[in-house]
């Protein structure tokens, strides 16, 4: 993995809004230890903001009552936590084994050549961001993309073109 330790501060305090506050309180009751909420709480942050900023990590630590260093560890360990803002459409291309065997590289090349979008980057209009991820567990329908949580299976460059055209 690459270094994920450089956090981005927004300069504004973070807080769960009502919906996620309620969800936090619902979930915390399901564990005998509050620290179990570290990863679920980071997920709630990401659902609310689209990514996880420095202030949110501090907030989660204080809310749970644990060391910020522990939440920081968890946020950097789990690569699905976006530690920087991502595009409106966050495109994950599976890079591993079966997807690689069935042509994921052509799709990655397409993004590079047509959208000037390389893994780890976001387009200037903030519409698309691209990430190469490890096996997404859809080897039987490789190659696969995951965009904002939705899976797109049996992809090829033509299908990607058509798909992107539907994203406004």
């Amino acid at each position: 993995m690459s270094d994920r330790s450089k956090l981005i501060a927004t300069g504004k305090p973070f807080k769960f809004d009502k919906k996620y506050d309620t969800e936090f309180e619902r979930l915390v009751k399901r564990y005998p230890s509050r620290e179990s909420m570290i990863l679920p709480a980071l997920w709630l942050v990401q659902e609310q903001e689209g990514w996880v900023c420095e202030e949110a990590i501090g907030y989660v630590a204080d809310r749970i009552g644990t060391f910020a260093s522990k939440v920081y560890e968890v946020a950097t360990f789990y690569t699905m936590m976006n530690l920087h803002p991502v595009g409106k459409y966050h495109i994950c291309v599976c890079r591993t084994l079966s997807c690689w065997l069935r042509g994921k590289q052509e799709i990655v090349n397409y993004f590079r050549d047509e959208l000037n979008l390389t893994p780890g980057k976001t387009t200037e209009d903030k519409k698309f961001s691209l990430e190469e991820v490890e096996c997404l567990g859809h080897c039987g329908s490789a190659p696969v993309l995951q965009i904002n949580g939705e899976f797109y299976e049996n992809m090829d460059v033509d299908k990607v073109k058509k798909l992107l055209a539907t994203f406004k």
């Binding site: 993995m1 399901r30 564990y31 005998p32 230890s33 620290e35 179990s36 909420m37 570290i38 990863l39 679920p40 980071l42 997920w43 749970i64 644990t66 522990k70 560890e73 968890v74 360990f77 789990y78 690569t79 699905m80 936590m81 994950c92 890079r95 591993t96 084994l97 079966s98 690689w100 065997l101 069935r102 991820v133 490890e134 096996c135 997404l136 567990g137 859809h138 080897c139 039987g140 329908s141 490789a142 995951q146 949580g149 939705e150 899976f151």
Partner: protein, 430 residues
């Protein structure tokens, strides 16, 4: 060759993830029988069925349960491993998305058998839609009184909580999974203590794979003997085989154990695609050493045959490679995966996998010499077996096999040796 319908019975039924549809098709019919049995009897049935863990290690499920210490004044936890992340493995996803009630029913059986009231399903973070379907099924089950304080109107409480992973393959390792639920980085624990004695929150814990749990309702319903009629003696029952890579019809197929590997590839998955020749088969997920076509021809899909072929049954995720595949590039793809997923805890894995990746890149860049190729091969031996968990071995085992079985492909990439290597040797100097 015909598909079995133990786990996949409802996969083709529309809306089988909904409780009403699932119930109409046989879900939750084991509960009366379950709660009228003694807990020990349930464990005996599972032991007798020969069910082995379907996550990859193949440890007998009933025996795992019987390791729980008796008479402890501590809660017992069930952790269901839905972290399915091994490249080439995509079977549990079908159960999660198409028949979540089968899993929930299996959890009820397992909880009752091991005297647990709290189950956590650890689902990989990438399984977003699957998680939503599963959560809806759990909510339905709660509403229908199948979960909660009185499961099936019995005086037995079961609560199920879904815990989402965050993109870390290692959390499929059972102790890393527990660490992750506890709110930590997913770094495996040293064993002993084993989870059955000291697991989640330092309490006795059983960790079972989704497919193992989903096999339970059928076993309870039909009995151990009926289950054993599928498969072979050392590997009973059926398995969801995921076939992917260079085949015509990739997908998940439920089959009994013991079938010939190539027959399954040819008859179920339509054989190697585009009329090409077979170059190799990874038989059970990316960590299993590759089989050459000759080796694949004699292998059958069970633990013993795979061991005889010096590989593993693993998760039963079969990856087929056609003649066009560059083995050095495949090797790099695998090493990159394991390097990316190394948790960073123990030295050999943390430092070694990155080193191997860089050497492979050097080889592929045409900048390496024989000593570099020998070094990466030697590192496989130096790293393996020295680590806290088996992630490093999951990398070195397949890489060793690739280096040994397809060495000429790697050698072809090496720089020519210096014209007269001997002139550099100190012994030659006067």
């Amino acid at each position: 060759m015909q598909e079995a319908k133990i786990l996949s019975a409802k996969f083709a039924i529309k809306n089988s993830n909904k409780l009403t549809v699932a119930k109409k098709n046989g879900a939750y019919q084991t509960l009366d029988k379950l709660f009228s049995s003694k807990q020990g009897e349930v464990i005996e049935v599972v032991k007798n069925s020969g069910l082995r863990g379907r996550g990859g290690a193949g440890f007998p499920t009933g025996m795992k349960w019987s390791f729980l210490p008796k008479g402890l004044d501590k809660p017992v936890y069930l952790a269901v491993n839905a972290d399915e992340s091994e490249p080439g493995t995509f079977k549990d996803r079908y159960i999660l998305a198409l028949d979540p009630h089968l899993l929930i029913e299996g959890i009820i059986i397992a909880c009752y058998a091991i005297n647990s009231h709290d189950a956590y399903i650890y689902i990989r973070g990438e399984y977003t839609t699957q998680r939503i379907v599963l959560q809806e099924a759990i909510d339905e089950a709660y509403k229908a009184g199948l979960l909660g304080k009185k499961v099936g109107k019995q005086n037995y409480r079961i609560d199920i909580t879904i815990h989402r992973g965050g993109g870390a393959y290692i959390c499929g390792e059972e102790t890393a999974l527990l660490e992750s639920i506890e709110g930590k980085k997913g770094q495996p624990r040293s064993k002993p203590p084993f989870p059955a004695v000291e697991g989640l929150y330092a309490c006795p814990t059983i960790i079972n794979n989704v497919q193992s749990i989903a096999s339970l309702p059928w076993i309870i319903q039909n009995g151990a003997m009926a289950y054993k009629r599928y498969g072979i003696e050392s590997a009973t029952g059926t398995h969801l085989f995921g076939i992917s890579g260079h085949v015509e019809k990739p997908g998940v197929y439920e089959l009994p154990f013991g079938l010939p590997l190539l027959d399954v590839i040819n008859e179920m998955a339509g054989g190697v695609w585009k009329g090409r020749k077979l170059k190799g088969v990874i038989p059970g997920g990316s960590s299993c050493p590759i089989l050459t076509p000759e080796e694949a021809a004699t292998a059958t899909l069970d633990y013993a045959s795979m061991a005889e072929h010096k590989t593993m049954f693993g998760s039963g995720g079969i990856v087929v490679l056609d003649e066009t595949v560059s083995m050095p590039e495949l090797t790099l793809n695998l090493i990159q995966f394991y390097h990316h997923e190394s948790c960073g805890q123990c030295t050999p894995c943390r430092e070694g996998l990155g080193w191997m990746e860089k050497i492979l890149k050097k080889i592929l860049g045409g900048d390496a010499e024989t000593k570099d190729l020998n070094l990466v091969r030697e590192l496989c031996d130096n790293i393996e077996g020295k680590t806290v968990c088996v992630l490093a071995a999951a990398c070195t085992m397949p890489v060793r096999a690739l280096l040994d079985k397809y060495r000429d492909e790697f050698e072809a990439l090496l720089k020519p040796e210096p014209a007269s290597a001997t002139t550099e040797a100190p012994a030659e100097q006067e």
